[in-house]
């Protein structure tokens, strides 16, 4: 197998699964009727985006950007380090996603308390 094929398979695999996650999440948010499933859909969209972000930072033949003794060894052996910036940004984005999910779930609990149901088609005081 030439290296170009391998790279193509990898990129289709990783980008494809990340975009697939985003699409699955979008489908859940748009089509599902149960509020909790909608919130889970939001989480899945977040996961897909984070995966995309980290995938962008990968460099072939790369190692983790840590200058530990083992890392320094690997550098001497000729490996490069992957891009550290997307990983740092994803760290922040994960925490923010958690914050939004927490608030969303609390709203679901409130809606359930009020309407005794958690299905969107039965909660219709405001025009959707």
């Amino acid at each position: 197998m030439s290296s170009i094929d391998y790279n193509q398979i990898m990129s289709i695999g990783i980008y494809g699964s990340a975009i697939g996650l985003i699409l699955i999440g979008l489908y859940a948010v748009l089509m599902k009727k149960h509020l909790t499933k909608i919130v889970i859909g939001l989480s899945i969209i977040d996961a897909g985006i984070h995966l995309l972000f980290v995938a962008i930072g990968y460099i072939d033949n790369g190692t983790a950007p840590i200058f530990s003794p083992k890392g320094l060894e690997m550098m001497a052996a000729g490996k490069t380090m992957v891009d550290p910036v997307p990983q740092a940004l994803v760290l922040t984005a994960i925490v923010i996603g958690f914050g939004v999910t927490a608030v969303a779930l609390s709203l679901v609990i409130r809606l359930y308390r009020h309407n005794k149901t958690a299905r969107i088609d039965q909660i219709k005081s405001l025009k959707w």
């Binding site: 980008y15 979008l26 460099i59 550290p84 308390r113």
Partner: protein, 239 residues
Amino acid sequence: MKKVLVILMLAVIGYSLGTSFSTIKFGENRIGDPKEEKNVAAYYLNRTPDELSVANVITAIVVNYRGFDTLGEVSVLFLAATGLGSILYRRRKKGEHPEVITKPASQLLQSGSKLIYPAILVLGAYVFIHGHLTPGGGFQGGAIIATGLLLMMMAYKDFEIRHNVLTWVESIAGITFVSLGLTGLIYGKTFLENFLPIGNLNDVVSGGIIPIIYIAVGFKVAAELAGVLETLLSNKEND
């Protein structure tokens, strides 16, 4: 009908995303040689061991180079906990106490959790204390500790963390973070600048204020996640 429209739209989105990303070659080295410093990533990789004495470049980015983002992130966590509290707030009637899960957990969970719980706490503490030397850091360590607390909460229905303690830890950790930043400002330098000596690479005590900030962040994240879990768990429906 709606289903067809949605699937169509998803196909369009998927296709456009796919074509956009196919132009970004996977694994391509866009940084170049770190010594040339053509862009920010190269700069970080090149300068961190010398200028900051921190082994984990990602920690250096999160806490020092882009520390302001981390401050924003910490406030997002704080906001989420506060928002949760405000949305789920119910005035307690006299004599009512929070209902908890009523069905007892299985024997396996109860004995197993007692064994694992201290190990999880130690692991979490290790991760956030060594954030600048090994993969991990404040957020990861705090999440591990909160997971341990969740395990205990699920196994024992009378395991309670007093909300007071959590509030104190949260606030003090947050204040530490902002004060460290402001101290930099007072000393005539910029906000969040490193004002302690940086020590040697791969020592536990190195990197100036970076480990201190990450430890504060670890405590804060653990306290906040535990608080969120506790608020959600103690709101069993009855009315």
